[in-house]
């Protein structure tokens, strides 16, 4: 069936983004859902690590092939299966002179010193939202390359991430 084209009135300024709200809601959700789940997990028995500190792992990492070596973005998801929150405090790489963490706020990106990795939750860097910003790259990363990153945390030990360079238009939800 053919859907009629969506017609709407001229929208008001739409610079503020759902992505940000989504993230904030996500964090708020952790607190609320976390409390609720703590109880649920005991009953269901799929937790079991509640008091043993943060348990961090990294997935879904990629860098879209950048326009130049001056600047690139990187994305990843840090999952914490543990019952204690942690904090991502720095990201470094031999491939880039400078890597900073940013949140996107109404079309403006703002540097953030650290990001919380909530207990039983995730810290998500994704296009349009939080991102890693690479500057002064030694070479322009090309599709197929791998960038090695070191993530440091307030509590947990550092994690090494092999971040693949994907096409400039890579979309993680479709995988191409």
């Amino acid at each position: 069936m053919r859907r009629p084209a969506l017609t709407v009135r001229r929208p008001a300024l739409t610079v503020r983004r759902p992505a940000l709200t989504g993230r904030r809601l996500a964090l708020t959700g952790v607190a609320a859902t976390g409390t609720a789940l703590a109880g649920a997990l005991v009953l269901v028995g799929c937790g079991g690590s509640a008091a043993s500190g943060a348990e961090l792992s990294v997935g879904a990492s990629y860098m879209p092939q950048p326009v130049s070596a001056d600047m690139a973005a990187g994305f990843l998801t840090i999952t914490n299966k543990g019952g204690t929150k942690d904090e991502l405090t720095s990201v470094t790489s031999d491939s880039a002179g400078d890597i900073t963490m940013h949140e996107t706020n109404g079309g403006a990106m703002e540097e953030v010193r650290s990001f919380e990795v909530p207990a039983h939750g995730q810290l998500v860097f994704k296009s349009g939202g939080n991102h890693l910003m690479f500057e002064k790259l030694k070479h322009r990363p090309e599709q197929g390359d791998t960038i090695t990153l070191k993530l440091k945390f307030a509590e947990s030990g550092p994690l090494t991430v092999e971040m693949p360079v994907k096409s400039a238009t890579y979309n993680p939800s479709t995988g191409h």
């Binding site: 989504g22 976390g34 326009v67 703002e110 010193r113 238009t169």
Partner: protein
């Protein structure tokens, strides 16, 4: 519409957290649900009251005067406001358009105008802008000039941008980009379709042939 997106994002967040709390979350796939959960599964938003093309006279990447209305009259034209020190959304948006454009016939490619207007004219000089766009698609037009002029032009399209400024906390330079690509019809020169930053290569590939003709995607 926006409320729906918020709601969908909230639901997704709840769903994701629920999953990950039990250690079975598949984070790579979760963002899809936001889009699919929103009942507008088309990337394009068609306006019942098109925008007038902004009366922008700026400087192109050759350093020459460029009158947007005169240069793009009767041409299918896509306009985006961004800046080159933007690592994420600006290059992604322009690359999405570049890749989608390559799927058009040569004749259609020749008709299409893609105009990138900088929101950070102090750093984006004509040559900086030219260098950056060359890395994406050398046929794209890059415009720079007086910030107040650019801001006023963006505002007529419902796009609000702020001047580049130093962040009070970090002392770092912060620039702002628009979040929409506006498509102007070759028939009316009106801006009649909007794309948000979630629009993908596939969305543009599907819609460009219609936009070239001034039809609704």
């Amino acid at each position: 519409m926006r409320k729906k997106t918020f709601a969908a994002a909230a639901l997704l967040a709840a769903a994701t957290l629920t999953l990950s709390a039990c250690g079975s979350g598949d984070d790579a796939k979760s963002p899809v649900a936001v889009v699919a959960g929103d009942n507008s599964n088309k990337a394009a938003t068609i306006l019942d009251q098109p925008f007038e093309k902004p009366d922008l006279v700026l400087t192109d990447t050759q350093g020459k005067k460029y009158d947007l209305r005169a240069e793009t009259k009767g041409r299918p034209t896509l306009v985006y406001f961004g800046y080159t020190h933007c690592p994420d959304v600006c290059p992604l948006t322009m690359n999405n358009l570049a890749v989608a454009k390559k799927a058009l016939s040569k004749a259609d490619q020749a008709k299409l105008r893609v105009v990138f207007v900088t929101t950070d004219p102090a750093r984006d000089t004509p040559s900086e802008l030219g260098k950056w766009l060359k890395g994406i698609d050398s046929s794209f037009v890059g415009l720079t000039g007086d910030f107040a002029t650019i801001q006023a032009g963006a505002r007529t399209l419902g796009i609000s941008i702020e001047p580049t400024h130093k962040d009070k906390k970090t002392g770092k330079v912060v620039s702002v980009h628009g979040t929409q690509v506006v498509a102007f019809s070759p028939k009316t020169d009106g801006g009649y379709v909007l794309y948000g930053e979630d629009a993908t290569v596939d969305d543009y590939t599907k819609d460009l042939p219609k936009l070239i003709k001034g039809e609704n995607p």
